[in-house]
Point group: C2
Chain length 431, copies 2
């Protein structure tokens, strides 16, 4: 690959002869001239091939080459504002590596079931490319933000002996002679790690066996869970704000072309700026009632409620002070009124809804033991977790941010399934 140049790096090779190794994305002919659109994974370039540039039989073969045939093209890079991508190549040599069989995904619309069944090929499309590049940039932004902010990466285990928030939505695994469950959150482990390292995060896949088919759910998704010893709800909310602003800034800086491919309204992303508005759960209920979507106190939001609330602001919206009743056992009650917990969800704007859940954790041994008993959770399984309140308990707080939900919002697309390379859904584990 010594003289291979990636299309993304063409700006450094203008006027030079280079080799591109890729696939035929599209082709059109104008008599003695052929325009081969070649993609190499980093971009697409138009390679201009004139009759006489290559032997006649090769020229003829190129004229009927199926889409996605693998080809190596050698030629001179030319800047051309009119060309898609801004560059053209004047071809001097073509090597057909493999003539593809007729490609199942033509450059036209297909049903989503067909595309999901061919996800291994659908990955090659421009839109999928744009989304997954943005996903990779978001992940890098999150990691860089946390690493530079003094957080230590501590990977949480995937195999866990017990449920974090109940067992109904867990996938069970036969672990030799025991039963194990796939983690749906690394949070409890991050609490242990925060007591050791101060500021920590885990970043890995999480699993929820929810029989739901909404456009916001996956069975397998990626989550980042920072946890801060001696941190408060206010600390994590400020950390979330800074992180979201950093993510958006990175994507705007490095992925502008990808956003354009997705026809994203970039102006909306450019408006994201800390501090984010805050609203309490009780205030939310008033607004929802005014907007004709009343919810009884003590019930959790559904997607329509979140949509109404987050559509009211350009920025993400914090909803705070939820009723303890429908929040997890480990959340710390608000000392000023124990009906509420010291938690906050962050809802993305433009109707995208929750992307982060966070809050302060119960740090009292006695109260936590009571909660575990009330929730009828298997107390032996939580014995180690209770140890964290026996040996130097401290106030602490954290949050979890969903990678795919964040990507869906930033990309401005409809369905979460396109934001992960190989989506796992209720009726899909193939390919």
């Amino acid at each position: 690959m010594s003289d291979q140049v990636f299309i993304a790096n063409f700006k450094d090779h203008i006027g030079k002869e280079v080799t591109v190794k890729g696939w035929l994305y599209n082709q059109r002919s104008k008599g003695k001239i052929q325009f081969l659109q070649v993609r190499d994974g980093s971009g697409i370039v138009q390679a201009v091939l004139g009759k006489g540039d290559v032997p006649d039989d090769l020229f003829a073969r190129c004229d009927h080459l199926p889409q996605e045939s693998s080809i190596v093209v050698r030629g001179v890079v030319r800047e051309d504002k009119r060309a898609p991508g801004g560059y053209e190549m004047s071809v001097k040599h073509v090597e057909i590596v493999q003539e593809s069989q007729p490609y199942p995904i033509a450059l036209k619309e297909h049903g989503v079931d067909f595309l999901l069944e061919h996800r291994h090929l659908w990955l090659r499309s421009r839109k999928t490319h744009a989304i997954l590049r943005i996903r990779a940039r978001i992940i890098k932004a999150i990691r860089d933000f946390l690493d530079n902010d003094g957080f230590v990466l501590i990977d949480a285990p995937i195999f866990t002996p017990a449920a974090c928030e109940g067992t109904t939505t867990l996938f069970a695994v036969d672990y030799f002679d025991e039963k194990a469950y796939l983690s749906q959150s690394g949070q409890l482990y991050m609490e242990a790690a925060a007591m050791a390292f101060g500021k920590v995060y885990c970043f890995g896949p999480a699993f929820r066996a929810e029989k739901s088919k909404t456009r916001r759910h996956l069975m397998e998704f990626w989550m980042v869970e920072p946890e801060i010893a001696y941190g408060t709800l206010e600390d994590v909310m400020q950390c979330e704000e800074r992180m979201i602003c950093y993510i958006v800034a990175c994507v705007l800086k490095d992925c502008r072309k990808d956003l354009e491919v997705l026809e994203r309204d970039i102006a909306k992303l450019e408006k994201i700026k800390a501090p984010f508005p805050r609203i309490s759960y009780d205030e939310s209920l008033k607004i929802l009632a005014e907007k004709g979507n009343a919810l009884p106190w003590g019930q959790d939001f559904g997607a329509p409620h979140e949509e109404i609330l987050c559509n009211m602001h350009d920025n993400p919206l914090f909803v705070t002070r939820f009723p303890a009743a429908f929040k997890a056992f480990y959340m710390k009650p608000d000392p000023s009124d124990e009906k509420y917990v010291l938690g906050a969800d962050l809802l993305a704007p433009e109707g995208y809804g929750e992307i982060i859940g966070g809050g302060q954790r119960e740090d009292s041994l006695e109260r936590l033991e009571k909660k575990i008993a009330e929730n009828k959770l298997p107390s032996e399984a939580f014995s180690w977790y209770l140890d964290l309140r026996r040996y130097g308990s401290v106030p602490h707080a954290g949050f979890g941010i969903g990678v795919e939900r964040t990507t869906t919002w930033i990309c401005g697309i409809h369905h979460i399934r396109e934001t992960i390379p190989f989506p796992r859904m209720l009726e899909r584990i193939y390919p």
Copy 2:
């Protein structure tokens, strides 16, 4: 936390009054003066408390405070070469957040079973700290190296419909009405992704249900799998060399104190330098026979064989041209002699053995179909994988590097279980 300062940042606060929020690591008294060793996750500092600095009853309490009690200490930072860590604090104020129950892990030796059972607390020890900080640095180095080298992160799925290399070592999951398996490698998915993005990698947990109890095996471990379209065995070997050199350089630069805590022989790491020596499988057999550890041709190395080979060099050692017989079905045979495959393993020095396996993949549809049939693999499950050879097949190659094995070697420690925050072993999924 507005005025909280982390011990790791003390160099910027010499002579200033700061607040440290942490835990009591150790304590000793000399009459009217107490030396409190306080750890805050980022480091350990000696806080010097004189009688009269705080109220008498608080001074008396501090004198009997159990290890790991949570305390907030306010005082002035002083440079002191004799102090462990290089700094001291002259305490002006102490707040005891929680008096710990008697701490089960005293500052003495414990058996490993006891420590593993208390992993959530063991995380707080100095040695564990050093290892997991190095682990985090290695992970960051790998990601930075690949991101800067034009690779796109494409997360492979964890739930898979079929086995990559046979089903005997797979964990099975009930996936609603289907059976799914936990991924033991993302490679096949990376091959699909490389055809779309050119250069890709996945980085996630992998699972092997091997009933093995060696010091080199975990049931759940983290793996990085880069894949390069149009890449050859030579390309991936050079990529591996550059990556390993980069990882070692980052750890030497940023984790010197951690290496010292582990009493790592740093000179050995400083010798790591590309190019790495290479030896063929057949040559290896000759050496093994000479050293009294003969192995019949066609059998894979065991740990003792790897140990002999990698002890012969300061650098990691490539072993190439393995017999096809014991390598995976997707490996490309060496065109010059099809008994061998175009693969290479990288063995870490100092007896640590294999940390990377890699090679070129079979790119011919016909040959791959034959291999799948010969290996009696479920061909429907591989239908999508075969598509990659139908639609623009290209030569391609990749490798997989194990995070924990690499960390074990770089830390210079004996057992892999200490290199992951919550190890999952044959008889351990707790805590």
